[in-house]
């Protein structure tokens, strides 16, 4: 039994229960979980995120330490890898774009197979790349979709996302599994599946298990909890959507209200989201901001062409030529090496 993930799992379950129980009839903490905590979480997120990023920005970038992943810009007849070893800002932008949007470095994993002796075949080892892409894009789609609860009228790009996301008509399965209505969004399911994959990787691949901390499991469980409660509300324990939107619209228009008929499940869902937001700036999830600031990726590789300035450069003690010649003058002369000062001048 791994302490790291058990602790994280228990933490998420406890958090869920706190919100669920706290908003049941009698406990009456709707105000806390529906209004105070979400506002608090958003403020923590914004302030924490800004502080973290500004903290990074305060540290200097003394040297240009680009990881060059391709041919440098050299003589005109040698083809430069303009993206992998960019010498222009445009190249850097494309490199960063591909890195952030396509996870290009993760894609780099190629594998080789020796087929019967000496013939090589290449294949891509894509599982982590696919898992990561699926996870992040599903998450993004889910976030965009949820804007329907936070906007009135709902903007076109939200409805568009919904339409694309829900293009699979799953209600044909309704008779068999009694689920699939309202229309199924792929993103929710993909998010859950990808989070599960990322979790199972951490449990079953010993290398990854060794390096995993509680801080790696906690956000995964949190996201799984969010996805599960969301899916449950949508397809199984149907909730009063209009009431929920009244609540969420109250939040974003700064006229917070707690309408009648919002279920405890929703408050638990909202609480987990709040926890995620509040936890975000203090965790590895800050890779969202950090990926933009990685000095090995966001700088040009043309250090020999354009000088980079180190803001804290300071003079150091060096062994000058004069000191060197003083040390070795006799021997240099003997060997016929040119010297600046002849020995007799010394005295």
């Amino acid at each position: 039994m791994n302490k790291n993930y058990m602790v994280s799992l228990i933490a998420v379950i406890v958090l869920f229960l706190i919100a669920y129980v706290g908003t049941q009839q009698g406990a009456g903490l709707q105000l806390v979980f529906g209004i105070i905590v979400p506002y608090l979480a958003v403020s923590l997120f914004v302030v924490g995120f800004a502080r973290r990023v500004m903290g990074w920005s305060r540290s200097a970038v003394p040297f240009r330490i680009t990881t060059t992943c391709g041919q440098q810009s050299s003589m005109p007849w040698i083809k430069q890898a303009k993206i992998d070893n960019p010498s222009s800002t445009l190249g850097v932008i494309v490199r960063m774009f591909l890195e952030i949007v396509c996870f290009r470095s993760l894609f780099r994993n190629t594998r080789m197979k020796l087929n019967g002796g000496t013939r090589l075949t290449y294949q891509l080892e894509l599982f982590l790349w696919i898992g990561a892409l699926a996870f992040h894009y599903a998450f993004f789609a889910v976030v965009v979709r949820h804007l329907r609860f936070f906007t009135e009228p709902v903007p076109f790009f939200v409805t568009l996302t919904e339409q694309v996301d829900g293009f699979m008509r799953m209600e044909v399965l309704y008779d068999a599994v009694q689920a699939g209505l309202p229309g199924v969004y792929m993103s929710g399911l993909v998010l859950l599946a990808a989070a599960l994959y990322l979790f199972l990787r951490r449990v079953f691949i010993p290398q990854v298990r060794t390096i995993s901390l509680a801080a790696d499991f906690f956000p995964l469980f949190l996201i799984m909890g969010i996805a599960l409660s969301g899916i449950f509300m949508r397809y199984f324990a149907k909730v009063d959507i209009v009431a929920i939107k009244a609540l969420t619209m109250g939040l974003v228009t700064f006229r917070p209200t707690i309408p009648e008929g919002v279920s405890g499940l929703f408050f638990a869902h909202l609480f987990l989201v709040s926890i995620l937001l509040a936890y975000f700036p203090f965790s590895k999830l800050m890779h969202l901001g950090g990926v933009f600031l990685s000095p090995t990726r966001n700088m040009t590789g043309n250090t020999r062409q354009v000088r980079h300035v180190n803001p804290w450069n300071y003079p150091v003690k060096v062994h000058t030529y004069d000191e060197y010649e003083d040390d070795f003058r006799e021997k240099m002369i003997e060997a016929g090496l040119p010297v600046v000062k002849m020995p007799e001048e010394q005295a």
């Binding site: 990074w56 920005s57 209505l181 228009t253």
Partner: protein, 128 residues
């Protein structure tokens, strides 16, 4: 450092994006929609199932109805109280809720839901 300015700009853009709901709705009240019940619906007092159930589960009920009518040729629906209804969107539902725009659409629009009922069904079968 100019680098710091760039980072600050990036941060501002990021926050502008994530606070989209706040400024998008700025100054708008956007209250939950009021549903209008027709006289007939008011008179009936209760729908085929209790209101709370209908609020959350009407889409599911309609899907069961569709299935039973189209696949099994059944049209009779008996609710918990033993009352008999004909399973028909056009003839039963729209009979009372003949005001689609003020009844169905208001909530659907508010929650950004696009039911495809109306791909086939006329929303005003009686042509009123």
């Amino acid at each position: 450092m100019k680098d710091k300015k760039k980072i600050l700009a990036g941060l501002v853009i990021f926050f502008a994006a994530i606070t989209f709901p706040f400024w998008f709705n700025m100054g708008k009240a956007a209250p939950a929609p009021e549903l209008v019940l027709t006289a007939k619906a008011k008179a009936a007092k209760t729908c085929v199932m209790p209101t709370a159930f209908m609020k959350a589960e009407h889409m599911q009920l309609l899907d069961v109805w569709r299935h039973n009518v189209v696949r099994n040729g059944e049209r009779a629906f008996v609710n918990a109280e033993g009352k008999l209804y004909t399973m028909s969107l056009s003839n039963t539902c729209l009979d009372c809720h003949s005001n689609k725009a003020e009844f169905c659409d208001r909530c659907h629009n508010y929650a950004s839901v696009r039911p495809y009922c109306w791909d086939c069904h006329l929303d005003n079968p009686k042509g009123e």
